[in-house]
Symmetry: C2
Subunit: 368 residues, 2 copies
Amino acid sequence: MNVLDLATPCLVLDLDRFESNIERMSRFAKSHSVSMRPHAKTHKCVEVARRQIALGAIGISVATIAEAEVMAAAGLRGLLLTAEMVGEPKVSRLMRVMSQAPDTMVVVDNPENVHELQRAAATAGVQLTLLIDLDIGQNRTGIEPGEPALHLAEEISRARNLSLKGICAYAGHAAHVVGFEARKAASIKAMGQALETRDLLRRNGHTIEILSGGSSGTYNIDPEIDGVTELQSGSYVFMDVEYRKIGGQSGSVYQDFEPALTVLSTVIHRSQKKTIVDAGLKAFATDRAFGPELSDVSGVTYTFVGDEHGSLKLENPSREVRLGDKLRFIPPHCDPNVNLYDRIYCARGENVEGFWPIMQRATGSPYF
Amino acid sequence: MNVLDLATPCLVLDLDRFESNIERMSRFAKSHSVSMRPHAKTHKCVEVARRQIALGAIGISVATIAEAEVMAAAGLRGLLLTAEMVGEPKVSRLMRVMSQAPDTMVVVDNPENVHELQRAAATAGVQLTLLIDLDIGQNRTGIEPGEPALHLAEEISRARNLSLKGICAYAGHAAHVVGFEARKAASIKAMGQALETRDLLRRNGHTIEILSGGSSGTYNIDPEIDGVTELQSGSYVFMDVEYRKIGGQSGSVYQDFEPALTVLSTVIHRSQKKTIVDAGLKAFATDRAFGPELSDVSGVTYTFVGDEHGSLKLENPSREVRLGDKLRFIPPHCDPNVNLYDRIYCARGENVEGFWPIMQRATGSPYF
């Protein structure tokens, strides 16, 4: 089947570009002696995770208990849950994942949550490995660096079924800083707090083997920071409009990785006044100030005009756009964009080789 | 099971409010002699559609061929596809739906598409009923009113397997006009163009039995316009922050229908500086300038801070907010918000009675 015969709107992965992206990241990590535990929140797809592992990743980072369940059930190991598991049913679900994938690690940022996890781990009879989630400036989850983190480490060390293994320090605020030098400065400043806390914890007798961080924007910055042991970059597999805007070491477009993922859409209205495609705000992520970018015709801009509709402005189109044409768009922001689809169609050139399922939406498997 | 025991983030439907909403709309339509063909793009849920039909709706409007397939397979009839079916595989899929639900109608706005549909209908040996999609100011799909629409009607009348039955005139630009009187003026102006075109087509011998239009914002405006035969309102079943902002006939909050749908979320970080919930931009629609509104605590505002995270500002909270608390939020925009979930949990008071599946994402069933 040809790509242009697919039902639209749909997600299409260019396998050549995708393979080039994951191989490039793998080579980079190996040559810089940093481990990869890439983030599955980007793709929510077992098949992508398997290929990352095959190229040397030591595990997979996940953002939800549902992602952990899907990856564990598929046989993937070395899982790191980068969000706090607070309350039920999350904690019970985590214990069930532990019985399948005992090396699963989870982050923690609160003593109350340490006690909750200890009670559950004791009841389940498991040993749970934790990383301290450190807020190094993103102002989201995470405990403050320094003394608060040390007190949390002490709480963990008193919990019989919990083992502290390191620190998770995600500088989300640095990932999309525009311009390589500015981004480097932001990441070094943020990660500096993680290094200081690591040293403080070590001086107090705690084991800090792991310092996990990094994004697709800082993959080539963080390994130069002494002490970062692994990267959890995710978006590099697909890329998106947002990452292309941040600029590379040379040039205003970030081209270290190629845009491998597109949304295929059909022109369903074409008149003198209007050109409308069948991909709207249920087909593209809408969380950024910008929309998708057309990848195979230049001189055309896209505007959201409804759940199932986008409007094209043909300013200086590089080719004619006709009713029924199939057009490809680079998603504005890949993570929430992938989340809008049930599968990724895989294409080698223009030939569709098959599709990979994307896991269920939101909380995943029903709780009852 | 209690609502607060559900895995978060999840969609929760308050059944009492939901039933009150659909009963209220049903009573209104009956007393104003207008038919209901409510839009399933809002809910993408067979169980909701069945309840709308049970209360007297003459059919269901759908926005995609996948929605039509799901509704037809579930035995629902009187389907109206409010988007143009252009190109393959849409046209072939439409023919398969016709074999199951022969009274399915589809909109058309282009002579080229008329010819495409005629060829497919002839090959399939079916008679396809069309409505002309009229652009009455939304500037999305739709042919221009007046002569262009008349020419299209003439094309249809020459096509042996196609029958023109009416006009679809959706004034999406009027639906969210703030203030009842301003909204009424906008809708009357828009629908006036549909009435003129209807009269022009009738004078030229075309059958216009159906004039379909209306939104949840104009449900009590459009039936007063002579000639509107049916309403395709959708959002009234659930409501959202956006519709509440448009104002009612009295008062600045639109309260004709009650907010029946909420997203349940867990507080996963609580410290002096920050309060973070596990519902972010994969849990809420992000296509509007505003976020969700907390429904069970006042004096708190929500900000998106990531795919899986939202930050709460506790300005003047009406109660204490603690780690692990489950909080309910009214979605910013219900249609794309529902689209982020696999199921709607149904609650009677605080008791979860079960859940209704939401159909697949995007294009629906795989094309191969």
